[in-house]
Amino acid sequence: MSAPLPKRIIKETERLQSEPVPGISAIPHEENVRYFDVKVEGPGGSCYEGGVFDLELFLPDDYPMCPPRIRFLTRIYHPNIDRLGRICLDVLKNNWSPALQIRTILLSIQALLGAPNPEDPLNEAVAKQWKENQAEAIKTAREWTQQYAMKK
């Protein structure tokens, strides 16, 4: 059962193509326009700088009344992203609002890369390291970025 494609999704998709956000791309699948291949560049100055992270994004039937579902596909060392790529981000959950859009959500995720929050961890081990030895954690994050998020 699939709801008819709302005008909003068409508009958002068009706008993502015509006015792309720097450092972010979201391209819908041909066979399912609710499913997007997303690439997010690690923010400059962060330990993810230089990396390009793949994500998948899916707009459920009741979008925009419920948030899109997003997951990192590229491995990333981050206290708010677990090893399955699930993201702990309030606007993807209880702070979702229908006035938010794909582009704003992706910007939020990019901002989350620039501002890890070990106080609200999804990945306990990473968050612990982040709190106890931040330099080491950032070093690991850089290594992971180098290893998984950079084209060789």
């Binding site: 006015e19 100055g45 993807l92 910007l107 620039g114 106080e119």
Partner: protein, 463 residues
């Protein structure tokens, strides 16, 4: 066999273990007058070496007490070793042929009837008889007599040489399509079932063919029933499979296209091995179905499910229908449009026109009545500033006027950035210098719900 005995037939009495030459005393035992005797032809079938041929006085002993399966003289060894599976050659129908022999030892009671191990013949039998019955039930329909013929030939000689009484003991669960061979005497009885299964003809058993993919056959009903009865015998398994609650709901799998599922839907119907396993664990622990998980994948599925269940957990509940109905509507004026003369409902993103009637929330933000109604019935917040439409805010949150900063999080006093963690921004900014740019770009993208122009529709309309 070059010695003298080769020319003279040796006769053995099964009753008293006496031995004599046939030429001297004939076939009836000179000691006990029993006619249950056997001519010993070759060492391989010498009944004297068969530990199941026991004298009456050693009845209490287990018939297989001295059994040595590697003993070359064991007359049954050939049958036991006959288990093999022949896969069909490529090009032939999928399947193959199992050949196996099932040997079973049964003791007789005083009336000469077979005593089922476990001793409760009427009460459904013990686990062993259940297994035996179920196995025969499973195998039975598919059994052919190929091996049976082979074995009959082999055994005919043996039987003919036992003029006494290979007496037939009718066994429960005996299937006519299987070959059975009963030998019994005073105090013992041997029940041999030989069967061959042809996988290609079986409706439920399906030997794997490694050369070709095959459909997944359901488990035989008999097997499941057998397991169920076993657990009932153990005493920890209350319900029929299929009546119990299924595991984690399959809603986890509704995610959609190619690989975007966060979890796997639960496998097949009742009767899968995993199902049985879960039932076993349930029986063992007495817990409710789904209380425990046994793999990382299952745990991940639960965590994902919880995350999604709680996705709106902290969000305010729905606004009352009355409150939504009583929201005022108004016509859009020029002040509602941006510099480019365009505006849209930020929920459906459709452009609005001058004079179009929209619904205005107490905070001053406006939307299509239908759009904002759908949202408010779910969550009582303004999509822009998150203020509720119910006048008295019970949570003690400060009620914001539309000209104020539409803060996402009042506590930090930071810019209204969607997705920001309350405590993340200051430390994050301090650590990584480039974040400010991201934040400002986010502000631009988000547009803000209100400003001095009081352009309530906000996002997207001016970017």
């Amino acid at each position: 066999m070059a010695d003298a005995s080769a020319s003279r037939e040796l006769v053995f009495c099964h009753s008293c273990e006496n031995e004599w030459y046939r030429s001297e005393h004939g076939l009836v035992c000179p000691e006990c007058q029993s006619d249950f005797t056997e001519i010993i032809e070759q060492p391989a079938s010498d009944p004297r070496l068969d530990p199941t041929h026991l004298p009456p006085d050693s009845q209490p002993q287990h018939p297989l007490q001295d059994h040595n399966p590697w003993e070359a003289a064991d007359p049954e060894e050939e049958d036991i070793g006959g288990f093999r599976f022949e896969r069909n050659a490529p090009g032939q129908p999928v399947g193959g042929t199992y050949r196996t022999t099932i040997n079973r030892t049964v003791t007789l009671d005083a009336q000469g009837r077979p005593v089922i191990e476990g001793g409760e013949e009427g009460g459904g039998g013990g686990i062993m008889s259940l297994i035996g019955g179920a196995l025969q039930g499973v195998i039975g329909p598919a059994v052919q007599q190929l091996l049976a013929q082979h074995q009959q030939q082999q055994n005919q000689q043996q039987r003919a040489l036992m003029p006494g009484s290979p007496q037939q003991a009718n066994q429960q669960g005996n299937n006519a399509s299987g070959f059975t061979h009963n030998i019994s005497g005073p105090g013992y009885s041997i029940h041999v079932t030989s069967s061959s299964i042809r996988g290609s003809t079986s409706p439920s058993l399906h030997p794997r063919d490694a050369n070709a993919p095959q459909p997944l056959n359901p488990q035989p009903d008999h097997l499941q029933e057998m397991m169920r009865q076993m657990f009932m015998n153990i005493g920890g398994y209350p319900a029929l499979p299929g009546q119990e609650q299924r595991g984690f709901p399959s809603q986890m799998g509704q995610m959609g296209p190619g690989g975007f599922m966060f979890g796997n839907a639960p496998p097949g119907g009742p009767g899968t091995p995993q199902d049985l396993f879960q039932q076993m664990m349930q029986a063992a622990t007495g817990g409710a179905h789904g209380d425990a998980v046994y793999s990382q994948e299952s745990l991940d599925r639960i965590v994902t499910q919880l995350m999604e269940q709680h996705s709106t957990g902290n969000a305010p509940g729905p606004a009352s229908q009355n409150a939504i109905k009583s929201l005022p509507t108004r016509a859009l004026t020029e002040a509602d449009f941006g510099h480019d003369g365009k505006a849209d409902c930020s929920i459906c993103m459709s452009e609005v026109e001058l004079g179009e009637r929209v619904t205005e929330l107490p905070c001053g933000h406006w939307f299509h009545g239908e759009c904002v109604g759908a949202w408010l019935r779910q969550t009582d917040t303004c999509p822009h500033c998150r203020r509720g439409i119910v006048a008295s805010d019970g949570d003690g949150n400060e009620v914001r006027a539309p000209h104020e900063t539409p803060a996402v999080d009042v506590s930090t006093g930071t810019q209204p950035m969607p997705g920001q963690f309350p405590s993340a921004a200051p430390s994050g900014s301090a650590r990584s210098g480039g974040v400010g740019g991201v934040f400002s770009s986010m502000r631009n993208a988000f547009g803000g719900g209100s400003n001095n122009n009081d352009n309530g529709s906000g996002s997207g309309s001016r970017s």
